[in-house]
């Protein structure tokens, strides 16, 4: 049979009919979980089940992971054929669409009911996150100043729990929470703003090597105490002359100490005018993000509409990129179907050539023809006997 919209009806009929030896399904779409399970059940009941496809079916897979963001949301990573247009949605409505390159794609969904689904043509994959992130704190260390104040504000307004120690005079700090307690059981990342973090460098190093995250602003990154952790060197500070912070791309207007040269193993993650503005490096089990900016507060204060939210979001991305992530496993919905084509292969094996399907159909036809011929022969025999007057 060729599967159309009524495959479920056809499967029900097959299931109610006397058991068949073989069943071949020729499909024009990737079977969904119910159809796959039904065929697998028939196979388990003794019917030899095979399948083929009218055309190449899209290999589609979806993974959903929680974002490291107190505001919640998930990141959906999609694998699909190159140049395929993928529609992402949840149970309520479509959310976004994207065209994938050879590496696949990812989309961040700030608010969505799970599970999420992605669709390419008539094929659909559905997945939900099996984990949720455990809340951890961020520790901010530096001098009292606008940068520290507004980094803390941005993170707290985004929902992070922040401990801080801001030095305001020799031997005098303004503290918030318990910033001295650095361990991965309670802290996701440390942000070291400047030389005031020097005194914690050895503890921060141990924290990072055990899996914690570290964000270094330029002054801290250039300190001898942090050379072993930094992602690269710190170039001379420069301020763009002709751009205002209110422009559409506010980070372009910030003063910048480019990261150069990059240390071995470090990778650039943000560029500005051909120079590295942010870089990442793995140290032990932890991650370090080095930034070229030290006055991000100007973005928040002087940027255009939406700059406060953009500043918060950017800092959350920076911290999330470095942070130690602790997951709690959550129940997985049985209604998900994260990789339908792969599951079809797993359930029924590889497709058989369409020729086999024809042969199968012919065998079924042969049986019917033989029954018809046998009936006709019996009818002829009965007629012959009646004409000859035989009993």
């Amino acid at each position: 049979m060729v599967a159309q919209n009524g495959l479920a009806v056809a499967l029900a009929a097959w299931t109610a009919a006397p058991p068949a030896d073989t069943l071949h399904v020729h499909v024009d779409h990737v079977l969904d979980g119910q159809e796959r399970d039904w065929l697998r059940a028939l196979s388990s009941a003794g019917t030899t089940v095979s399948w083929s496809a009218r055309s190449t079916l899209p290999a589609l897979a979806l993974e959903v992971q929680p974002r490291d963001d107190p505001m919640g949301g998930v990141t959906a990573r999609v694998a699909a054929p190159r140049s395929a247009r993928v529609q992402v949605g949840d149970a309520a409505s479509p959310i976004d669409s994207m065209v994938l390159d050879a590496r696949g794609g990812a989309i961040t969904v700030p608010i969505a009911s799970q599970p999420l689904s992605v669709r390419v043509g008539s094929s659909q994959a559905t997945a939900a996150s099996a984990d949720s992130l455990l809340a951890r704190r961020v520790v901010v260390l530096g001098r009292g100043g606008w940068e520290g104040k507004f980094v803390i504000a941005a993170l707290e307004e985004r929902g992070w729990l922040v401990d801080a120690r801001l030095a305001v005079a020799p031997g005098i700090d303004v503290t918030q929470g318990t910033p001295e307690m650095l361990d991965t059981s309670r802290v996701a990342a440390v942000i070291a703003l400047d030389s005031a973090a020097d005194r914690d460098a050895s503890r921060i190093g141990a924290f990072v090597r055990s899996g914690g995250g570290l964000v270094l602003e330029p002054e801290a990154a250039g300190r001898p105490a942090f050379v072993g952790l930094a992602a690269g060197g710190v170039a001379r500070r420069e301020r763009p002359a002709s751009i205002t912070v209110a422009d559409a791309a506010p980070r372009r207007a910030l003063a910048m100490s480019a990261i150069a040269p990059l240390h071995a193993g470090a990778v650039a993650i943000e560029w500005r005018d051909g120079r590295v503005a942010a870089a990442a490096r793995r140290v032990g089990a932890g991650r370090v993000i080095q930034l070229a900016y030290d006055e991000s507060w100007r973005w928040r204060m002087s940027g255009g509409e939406g700059s406060m939210e953009a500043h918060r979001r950017w800092w959350t991305q920076v911290v999330g990129a470095a942070a130690y992530q602790a997951f709690a496993h959550t129940a997985t919905s049985s209604a998900t179907d994260a990789a339908p084509l792969a599951s079809l292969y797993a359930a029924l094996g590889a497709p058989r050539p369409a020729l086999d399907a024809g042969a199968t159909a012919e065998r079924h036809g042969l049986h019917l023809w033989m029954i018809f011929a046998l009936g006709a022969m019996l009818l002829a025999e009965w007629g012959s006997r009646r004409l000859r007057g035989a009993p």
Partner: protein, 204 residues
């Protein structure tokens, strides 16, 4: 070079915004004297309606005369406070019946909401120097000038646990209006609360 703290005085179109010209230098001196916070040796004057207001997350506003803000000034002030700026206002008249008090508190209410009494246990009073009894009394209060009252509390607009507007009827603008070198004649530096205001703004 890290960004340094710049003391900014707000210029508004009505009234006498420049009634306390010695206060900025005196507070800059105190911040430099007592803290390790990098501070600019000179202050700035910033028009309330100017985009440059956003470069100074703490600003000081004072005067004797009625304060009636223009629409542009009101919009700018509201935006400034929404972004995280902090406004410190001192009534140079020390007079709750004075025109400055009546008009500027009305403008504050329109831009940020109503002022409430700030508890004397607020972190503002312990963030650097400790003031166990709340805001220090000024000589203007003790001399019976203005409204002839000793104000026991400062007022504030607080958002999310953070002071966005700090308002004083104590006339610190007179109390702190002298040349910094004359601090040596004081047994206790009377600008210490000003240091707390700056440190609070920079850290909270």
């Amino acid at each position: 070079m890290v960004s340094e703290f710049v003391f900014a005085t707000v210029q508004y179109e009505s009234g006498d915004w420049d009634s306390a010209p010695l206060v900025p230098a005196n507070l800059i001196d105190s911040v430099a004297r007592y803290t390790s916070i990098p501070v600019s040796p000179t202050g700035v004057i910033v028009p309330l309606s100017s985009p440059d207001l956003m470069r100074y997350p703490l600003v000081y506003l004072t005067g004797h005369l009625p304060v009636r803000l223009s629409d542009a000034e009101r919009r700018s002030l509201a935006r400034y406070l929404d972004r995280g700026g902090m406004l410190f206002v001192d009534d140079h008249n020390h007079d709750v019946d004075g025109q400055f008090h009546k008009t500027v508190t009305d403008e504050i209410r329109r831009a940020a909401g109503p002022l409430v009494e700030l508890p004397n246990t607020h972190p503002l009073y312990t963030t650097f120097f400790h003031f166990d009894d709340g805001p220090p009394t000024t000589s203007q209060e003790l001399n019976g000038w203005g409204d002839n009252l000793v104000h026991r509390h400062l007022m504030a607009v607080v958002r999310g646990g953070r002071i966005v507007v700090l308002y004083s009827n104590k006339d610190y603008s007179s109390e702190w209006g002298y040349h910094p070198e004359n601090k040596r004649f004081l047994s206790v530096d009377n600008t210490r609360l000003g240091v707390n205001i700056v440190v609070y703004a920079l850290t909270r």
